[in-house]
Each structure stands twice: as structure tokens, then as C-alpha cells.
Amino acid sequence: MNKMQIIFARELAGYFATPLAYVFIVIFLVMSGIFTFDMGAFYERGQADLMPFFNFHPWLYLFMIPAIAMSLWADERKTGTIELLMTLPVKLSDAVLGKFLAAWVLCGVALLLTFPIWITVNYLGDPDNGVIVAAYLGSWLMAGGFLSIGSCMSAMTRNSVIAFILTVAICFVFVACGTEIVLNAFAWAPQFLVDAIAALSFLTHFDSISKGVLDIRDILFFIVFIASWLFASAIVIEIKKAN
């Protein structure tokens, strides 16, 4: 096993050694159920697709993902284990990536456990399962985007509550900048600026993937987005670890 895998395994086991993983998964499932059936009017729409389920994911993630991400680095600083980790023969990039991937896999597990809803929709009708698979992938990529912001914010402070609030705030910007309200507010601006703002939003890219359009540009957006924020995390850790 390489160093990154070892850190990944430790972090993932850490989530399941405490109630954190279970609480996260249960709340995630309950919330996504409420959003889908109650607010999303899954039955009333009378359509065999999972749009009401996926449409709420950005807003669900806005609060759920920062809750996992907040402790990624803040806790290491708080307990002093960052000094232990950074003096082991491990590259910083391995540590950043290992921790991120562990949290990302946890999100993936929570997402996979929503499978009854997929069974339900297949039982009730005849949905396009290709679209559903694409939407799951898009949702997971978006979760990664939220997490990477959280990783960086968590590296900034030793207080995980501050990390949580900062992450929610920044994630909100990246979600909201794709909504009609924000884009209409920029109606005065030249079109290229409006397009640029919309292009930065999770919503824009997630919407197109969740409609079953697997455009390489949307996937690349999330990958580049994640990589950039993880790179920023590494820089922040390097600068702040002493304080």
C-alpha cells in the first residue's frame, strides 16, 4: 500500500469508528427522502424519473458536506496530531488526497444507500436508467466539489465550527451564482460576464449532467475545481501549520 492509501484507510475507518459516519448517512437518507417525496412531489408529478431527488442535492450538500469536511484538518491542528502526521515520512499531497478521498467515499456510500429510491422508480415506471446513473455520478462529483472547499477552509482554522461556517458560505456562493435570481441581477452586465458567473456554478454543471448529458467539460469542471481547492488546501496547511 502506498502512503496515500494508508492515510485514506485510516481516515475512512475513523469515520466508522465513531458515530459520525452513521449519523451522517442516516440524516442524509432522511433528508433526501423528505426533499424528494414531500417538497419534490415525487408521486404527484407522475413521471418516472428522479429529478425531484437530484434537484435538491445541491441544497442538501450545502449543509451536510461542510459537516464532514470541517474536521478534516481543523481537528488535526486542535489535537496536535498534525505535528505527528507531518513528521512521518508522508508527502503533504498524500495526506491531503488521502483525507479528501476518505470523506468523498463516505459521501459516495451515503449516495449509494439511496438505491431504494431507484428501485422504487423502476418498480413504478420505466425510467431512463442511463440518465439516473449519470445523475448519480454528477451528484458525487458535486459532493467532491463541496468537500474540496471544506478541506481548504478546515485547513485555515483549528476551530471546526468556523470551518463549517466558512465552508457553507463559500459553497453557497458557488451554488447560488447559477440560480436565476443571481443571474437576473446581473442582467445589466455584458453576456460574457453572465456566462462566466453561470459557468462557475455547481448548478449549471450538475443540471446538465443530471439530465443525462455527460459532457466532458462538465466533468472536467468538477475535476479541475476539486484539484484547485485541494492544491490550495496544501498551501494553506504549509503556511498555517505552525500557528
Binding site: I6, R10, T79, G80, E83, L84, T87, P89
Partner: protein, 335 residues
């Protein structure tokens, strides 16, 4: 083994070389132009008042902090250019012995062993060995946050020695341990020291005399003294002094007034019958005073030599340095 180079009359392999190391935090200078070398087999005690720069120096050597200036080389590898190689050679117990609170002792040691590159049987063997060495058998399956301070410290020590490192750096290894545990940890350090470099920081001076072959006293990021504990003790005002206890009142001061070797007579307690005789630097008083007391029929109850006190010397040099710094601050304020 790399070839060494001659140092005085023997061949010494310098494992750690620190040259002109400076570490600043904003405007505060924690380590100020520090240079020293440590050779294989040495147990170096790092002494200094709180905030002297001991921990910061250790953090730089272990690669946790990057130096502002200067360089650190461990076994020929520079920490700045080859951090992974240096970190592989070092076992480090950070101050406060941090470890992951949600893991059990066994899980934690397993994790460290894997990161250190051990797998399979070798890994199991090493984990078992440190558990035996540091006596962690009873807490293997307990999560670390439920352990007592002493056990946590031992878990920290176990992770530091699991790969049998060439260089062992321990930041206050016995802090918070009870006397038995302290004794045990010192024993362990002595056993480990044979073919390694051990650097320990402490403010317990008896520890230095007990385990270290060399001591460096630092304050305000600078080296104030460097030598074997015996050498440092010899610089104490108490070196060569004698303690004398009398059975009845007797004018010791008058009896010794004419002696040029006696620098000072200190009262050791309130009884007025127990004294410490301090010699003029470089003199020993034992034989002389012993002879005088017999010839003069002094009413002596107890008479013995005083060992040089490391503590006394430590106070002497670090307080001088504090005075100097107070002086510097006041002149800075004036200017």
C-alpha cells in the same frame, strides 16, 4: 556506515548537523543562529526555561517547521531538499504526545507501522515488540482518549521507536509521568541510546544527569552552555563545596576567616548549625576543612562533599541571559 571524520582524537560520525539555524515567527525570534553537531551514541539533553526555543528547534529538525535561515542535515540528508529521507530516519515524540483519540492503541500503532513501511509479519513483530518494551499490553484495545496521561505518553513513545530509528527526538518525554514511570522511561532511553542519537528536551535537571551524555542549555534561542552534565556541574558555584553540620553552636566564620580558599559560608537551614562552604572557583575544600576540623576539635556531626549542582548552574546562566534581555528591551525602549 559512512566514513566519519576525525574529531579531536577519535573518529566520530556526525549524524545531525545544525548550522546557523534561525527561526522567526513574525517579529519574534524563537531560535537565533543556533549551530551544533550531534554524533552517534550521544544522548543530548536540551535544557532551557520555557519559551527558550527547545521545541521550535526540535520541530525544525524533524521537518515540521521550515527554518527561516540555516540548515539541518541528518545523516547527510538535508531536511529542506530531502524531507522524506530525514523523516524516515527520525522517531519523534512531539510535545504533549499527540495521537488520534478515536483509535485504539493497537490500531494507532498499526497505522504508524504501515506509514513507516512495514507490512505482514514484520509489522506484527514490531508492534508486539514496542508494546512489550513500553508495557502497553493492558491497553491494546482501549481507545486512546480513554487512557491516562502516563499511558498516552507511552503510546507516543511507542510510535516514535517502532521503526528502530537512528535518531530519536523526544520533547519532554517524562512530563506528567509518576516517579516509577519516569524511571522506566529513562531506563528505556538509556537502553535505546547505544547506537543512536537521542535528543530529549526537559526542564527536569536530574533527568539530564541521569540519562544524558551531553547537555546544551539554551535560552532565547541561543546556546548558553554545551558540555557533559559533569562539566556543567563543575561550573556551578557549589562545585567543590562541602556541607558541615555541627552538634553545638560554634563560630565557624571565625574559624575559617583566614582561609583564602573559602569564598562564602552559607546557612543551609534555620538551625544555625548547618552550613555550606563555597570554595573559590577551582578549589576543593574537602581535605582542607576536614583537617582543620580535626585539629581544631570542631563539634562536627556530619561532614560531606557537595556535588556540583546542575540546577544552580542552570539558574545562573539562564538568569544572566534574562537580565541581559531585560536590559536590551529597556535600551530599545529608550532608543
Amino acid at each position: 556506515m559512512r566514513p566519519g571524520f576525525p574529531c579531536q582524537d577519535m573518529w566520530v560520525v556526525n549524524m545531525i548537523e545544525i548550522s546557523q539555524l534561525t527561526k522567526k515567527f513574525d517579529s519574534f525570534t524563537a531560535v537565533d543562529d543556533l549551530s551544533f553537531k550531534v554524533a552517534e551514541g550521544e544522548v543530548l539533553g536540551f535544557l532551557g526555561p520555557n519559551g527558550a526555543g527547545k521545541s521550535t528547534t526540535m520541530k525544525v529538525i524533524t521537518g515540521f517547521l521550515a527554518p527561516t535561515q540555516g540548515s539541518v542535515t541528518v545523516d547527510g540528508h538535508n531536511i529542506a531538499t530531502d524531507p522524506i529521507a530525514v523523516k524516515s530516519l527520525i522517531g519523534y515524540l512531539p510535545e504533549g504526545a499527540p495521537s488520534y483519540p478515536d483509535m485504539t492503541t493497537l490500531e494507532f500503532l498499526d497505522f504508524i507501522a504501515e506509514v513507516r513501511g512495514f507490512t505482514g509479519e514484520e509489522k506484527q513483530r514490531r508492534i508486539q515488540k514496542v508494546i512489550d518494551d513500553v508495557e502497553l499490553g493492558s491497553v491494546c484495545h482501549k481507545t486512546i482518549d480513554t487512557l491516562s496521561k502516563g499511558f498516552k505518553r507511552r503510546v507516543g513513545l511507542a510510535q516514535a521507536i517502532i521503526h528502530d530509528p537512528k535518531v530519536l527526538i523526544l520533547d519532554e518525554p517524562t512530563d506528567g509521568l509518576d516517579p516509577n514511570q519516569k524511571h522506566h522511561v529513562r531506563q528505556l532511553i538509556r537502553n535505546l541510546a547505544k547506537d543512536k542519537i537521542v535528543i530529549i528536551s526537559t526542564h527536569i535537571l536530574e533527568e539530564v544527569s541521569a540519562v544524558c551524555s551531553r547537555a546544551i542549555i539554551i535560552a532565547r534561542g541561543r546556546i548558553l552552555a554545551d558540555g557533559t552534565p559533569k562539566e556543567l556541574e563543575a561550573r556551578s558555584a557549589y562545585y567543590g563545596a562541602v556541607s558541615i553540620r555541627l552538634t553545638e553552636d560554634f563560630d565557624l566564620r571565625a574559624a575559617l576567616a583566614a582561609d583564602p580558599d573559602v569564598r562564602e559560608i552559607e546557612q543551609a537551614d534555620d538551625s544555625g548549625r548547618h552550613f555550606i562552604l563555597l570554595p573559590v572557583a577551582g578549589r576543593h575544600l574537602f581535605n582542607k576543612v576536614s583537617e582543620k576540623s580535626q585539629n581544631g576539635h570542631w563539634p562536627v556531626a556530619e561532614f560531606h562533599m557537595v556535588e556540583g549542582l546542575l540546577e544552580d548552574y542552570f539558574r545562573h546562566v539562564t538568569q544572566d541571559s534574562a537580565l541581559e534581555s531585560a536590559h536590551m528591551i529597556s535600551t530599545e525602549q529608550q532608543g
